[in-house]
Each structure stands twice: as structure tokens, then as C-alpha cells.
């Protein structure tokens, strides 16, 4: 192994898969071998079996649908406002000076701590779930996008000016296209964080969703179901991440050159 030397795609995939195999093997050995009590940790086989029961008989697919819709809904709402605001803050320093201190403060407010307040304000319906996701992702998005837009290469801006671009032309035709690939990466990253908020939101006052199923299972000490729920989230997260990555690569071919 040499530092920073690239690894070929085949071995790369094999190494990645290998860890999963080792992880499951260690888990199976610990549980099936009787080293860990079933009350605390279900074994992989029971987990897969009860996962199948959940999906086939207890309508878990509906829970998954609810959770996905909440994540996407809250995240899209946050992105719809955060992207334009971040661009404006990155481009215009007075706008940044106005919003930045508050946003920096707000991003450290833990979204999950707002859940009791949000229940009070928005009830226990969908509005409350969406607001948790919104709060958790909005401020992070705004700040990171503002930084990325503000970091546009100055010489490109100057070149555009000497080509006759006006101020709005600079924003539209230099700042936005320059930072677009990083903004897309930020969206991908924050979407991942949104998944962690949604479960917390569903642990309290929800009648459906993966988080709701996990709370129910806790009452029954059904560790197999809890683990299946967690793995479901991981798999959906991984898939959405891959899809997002592929989309970004397709949209911004020039950035990967």
C-alpha cells in the first residue's frame, strides 16, 4: 500500500462488501453462538424472518412510505428556501451580514429539542414531522451554500465583468454555475442528516413510520424488529445517496474532468 494510490474498481467493491460480510459474521457468531442473550440482541436469522413478517403481514411498507415522504417533503421545503437564500448570502455581503449571525446561532439549536414545542404548535400530524426535518436541514444548508457561493474564483468573476456581464449576470452566469456541483454535494450530505431527524420525530407522537414501528417494538422487547427498522433506514439512505451521487455526476460532468 502506498499513500494516496488509487485502488482499482474491482478490489474496491470487494473490500467494501467484505466488511459487510465480516460485520454480519461477527453478529451471527455473537448471537447464534449464545454469547449474547436474545432479549438484548436478536440474531440475524430471526431479524430477517420478522422483517419479512413485518412487510408481508403488518403493513411495514406503509410505514416506510410515510417516513420517506416526510424526509423528502421536509428536505425539499428546506432546500427550496435555503438554496436561493444561500446564493443571495454568498453573492451579496450585506445580505450575508444580515442573516449569517442568526443562521450560525440557529444551526446549533438541536432540531430534536424542538419536538415538544412543535407538537404544541403544529400538533402530532404531518406538519410537525415536516417541521423537524425542515429545522434540522434548513440552517445547515443555508450556511454551507452561502460559503460555497462566496468562494467562487474571483478571477472568473473579473473575466465575466470584462466580457460585459452586469451584476445579475455575474450571479446567474458565474456564481451559480461555479458553485452548483458543491451545492449539489451539500444537498446530498444534508439529506443524509435529515434521515436521522425523521426517526427522532417519529419516536414521539406518530401513528405510522419507521420510527413509530421502532417505539412499538421497544414496548414488546422485539429487538429483531428494531434492528430490521434500523437496517431499512440504512439501506434506503445508501440507495438515495447512490442515486443522488449518480445524478450529480450526470449533471456536472465538467466538474469531474
Amino acid at each position: 500500500m502506498k499513500p494516496l494510490r488509487e485502488v482499482a474498481p474491482g478490489p474496491r467493491l470487494a473490500l467494501g462488501v467484505l466488511f459487510f460480510i465480516l460485520f454480519f459474521a461477527a453478529w451471527a457468531a455473537a448471537t447464534l453462538g449464545g454469547f449474547v442473550s436474545k432479549t438484548f440482541l436478536a440474531d440475524p436469522i430471526t431479524m430477517v424472518r420478522s422483517g419479512w413478517t413485518l412487510l408481508a403481514e403488518q403493513g411495514f411498507a406503509k410505514d416506510i412510505g410515510f417516513t420517506v415522504w416526510r424526509v423528502l417533503g421536509g428536505f425539499v421545503l428546506a432546500a427550496l428556501i435555503a438554496v436561493p437564500l444561500g446564493v443571495l448570502m454568498g453573492a451579496y455581503k450585506p445580505v450575508e451580514a444580515f442573516f449569517e449571525p442568526f443562521v450560525s446561532f440557529a444551526r446549533y439549536l438541536p432540531a430534536s429539542a424542538f419536538i415538544p414545542l412543535l407538537i404544541l404548535w403544529a400538533g402530532i400530524g404531518e406538519a410537525q414531522k415536516l417541521s423537524v426535518i425542515f429545522l434540522g436541514s434548513f440552517f445547515q444548508l443555508v450556511l454551507m451554500i452561502a460559503v460555497q457561493v462566496g468562494a467562487t474564483r474571483r478571477d472568473l468573476v473579473e473575466a465575466a465583468y470584462t466580457l460585459g456581464a452586469n451584476d445579475w449576470g455575474i450571479v446567474k452566469r458565474v456564481l451559480i454555475p461555479f458553485s452548483a456541483p458543491q451545492v449539489a454535494e451539500t444537498l446530498r450530505l444534508v439529506l443524509g442528516w435529515a434521515w436521522t431527524y425523521v426517526i427522532v420525530a417519529e419516536l414521539i407522537g406518530a401513528s405510522a413510520g419507521i420510527g413509530h414501528m421502532i417505539t412499538d417494538s421497544q414496548a414488546l422487547l422485539a429487538t429483531d424488529q428494531i434492528i430490521f427498522g434500523i437496517i431499512t433506514i440504512g439501506v434506503i439512505g445508501l440507495l438515495s445517496d447512490l442515486a443522488f451521487k449518480r445524478l450529480n455526476r450526470g449533471l456536472f460532468r465538467w466538474a469531474a474532468l
Binding site: 465583468y161 466580457l163 456581464a165 452566469r173 454555475p177 474532468l257
Partner: protein
């Protein structure tokens, strides 16, 4: 009347961290006539790039003013095209789209944009590379696109800030010939900043030598070599004579710069 008139233009940079203010450019006068090819030669840090940036409208003079065709320069604009030392092609646009950038900003119909772009792509010898992205081109090719992009806008004056500074010697010589042939063809007015003596003499009809910082015009030479110039002009006695003279001027200034930095 001269096309570009620089009168009493000086630049002082404000103090950083309670230090002293920096006088980068002493009040400078320069008259540029239509179709002039003026090279501005000076040691590094002498304020020659600052002067060019002020003409471009990217920096503001502390004193004096710049007038282009009688109208004072207030900011950057399409009437002054610029090629930078750093590679400033927009990496998300293809060669063709880069060259059309200014034309599109003017609101020109796409068909006309393409027609103009094709002409300049051919002039800089990049036909066949229209769909390439900047990262797929060599440094010399990128600067040729940058030149085509500036020319496509049909500016009144072309400003070049050490555009070939990052290129290797062979590429640089070819680029000089290319620029010269384009200038002879289009009868553009050119202000070219460089620290390379050969480059300054080979292309210019007037060469302005800057002093060490704080910069001012130390000497101005008419380069009386006939146009069109072939690269062989670099081996003529007259070229050597001019080169000796300019080298003497610039060497004294470079020494001063070196002493200041000691």
C-alpha cells in the same frame, strides 16, 4: 485624439494591520493611439498590472482618471477586453460557449453568436475543439480560447496581463506570433503587460518601461521594427540593439526591487 488617455493615474493601497499605506503606482500619464500595440515592461511588483486593472475598471485609481474615446472609465465593460495570466475560462462551459459568453450577454441571436465564434476559433487555430471543456485543453490552448473570447466581443482595446507568463518558451513564442498576426489583421489597440524583454520588443510599436515600486514610467521607446514581423526579426541587429537598451533600463529597476526586498 488618442483612443485611451491615462492621466495622473496613481494607486495607493490602504494600510493592513496598522502598517503603512502602500504606494503601488505613482501618478502616471500615458496616451494610447488607435491601433497602438503598447507593451508595459517592468520588474515584478512595480504596479504595471495595477495600471492595467485600473484601465479595465477592475480597480479604482486613487488619483487621476482613465478616458476611453473621451468617456471616463467607471467600471469594467465589454469595450475593454482582457486576457489574464491565470486561466480564466469558465470550466463549466465548452470552448464555443466560453467564446459566446460576452455575445450572449449582449443579447445577440444564437446563430450570429455561433458565426462569430466559429471565425475566431478558426483564427486561433482551434477548429475541431468547439465542444471541449477547458480542463481538456493545454495551457496554451486555453489562453488561445481566452484571446478568442476577448476578441469575439469586438472591444475597442485589448488588455493583456502577462497572458503567456505561465506557458513554456516554445508555446509562448508561437502565441506571440499568433497575437501579432491577429493584431495586424484586426487593427486592434493593445496594451500588453509583461516582464519579458524579448516579448515586449517583438510585438510592440511602443514599449513603456516601468520603474521599481512605487511604479512610474521610467522610459518610453518607439520600436521601429517594420511590420509584419516574422520571428526571425529577433535575430536582427536592430532587435539586439533595442534589447540591449531595454535590458539596461529594466536591470537597474530589478536591482532596486531586489535591494528593497533584502
Amino acid at each position: 485624439m488618442s483612443r485611451l488617455s491615462i492621466s495622473g493615474v496613481g494607486r495607493t493601497f490602504p494600510a493592513v494591520n496598522r502598517g503603512a499605506t502602500t504606494l503601488a503606482l505613482q501618478p502616471t500619464n500615458l496616451e494610447v493611439a488607435d491601433n497602438d500595440f503598447i507593451t508595459i515592461l517592468g520588474p515584478s511588483g512595480c504596479g504595471k498590472s495595477t495600471l492595467l486593472r485600473i484601465v479595465a475598471g477592475l480597480d479604482e485609481p486613487t488619483t487621476g482618471e482613465v478616458r476611453l474615446d473621451g468617456a471616463p472609465v467607471r467600471g469594467p465593460g465589454a469595450d475593454r477586453g482582457m486576457v489574464f495570466q491565470s486561466y480564466t475560462l469558465f470550466p463549466w462551459l465548452t470552448v464555443l460557449q466560453n467564446i459566446c459568453f460576452g455575445l450572449r450577454e449582449k443579447g445577440m441571436p444564437a446563430a450570429q453568436q455561433a458565426e462569430i465564434a466559429a471565425r475566431f476559433i478558426a483564427e486561433v487555430g482551434l477548429t475541431g475543439f468547439e465542444g471541449h471543456y477547458p480542463k481538456q485543453l493545454s495551457g496554451g490552448m486555453q489562453q488561445r480560447v481566452a484571446l478568442a473570447r476577448a476578441l469575439a466581443n469586438d472591444p475597442k482595446i485589448l488588455l493583456l496581463d502577462e497572458p503567456f507568463g505561465a506557458l513554456d518558451n516554445q508555446t509562448r513564442a508561437l502565441m506571440q506570433e499568433l497575437l501579432l498576426s491577429i493584431w495586424e489583421l484586426h487593427k486592434k489597440t493593445v496594451l500588453f503587460v509583461t516582464h519579458d524583454v524579448d516579448e515586449a520588443i517583438f510585438m510592440a510599436n511602443r514599449c513603456v518601461v516601468f520603474s521599481a515600486r512605487p511604479g512610474r514610467i521610467k522610459n518610453e521607446l518607439a520600436i521601429d521594427l517594420p511590420y509584419p514581423r516574422h520571428y526571425t526579426v529577433k535575430t536582427t541587429p536592430r532587435f539586439s540593439e533595442l534589447k540591449a537598451q531595454v535590458t539596461e533600463d529594466i536591470r537597474a529597476e530589478s536591482l532596486k526591487t531586489a535591494q528593497m526586498e533584502r
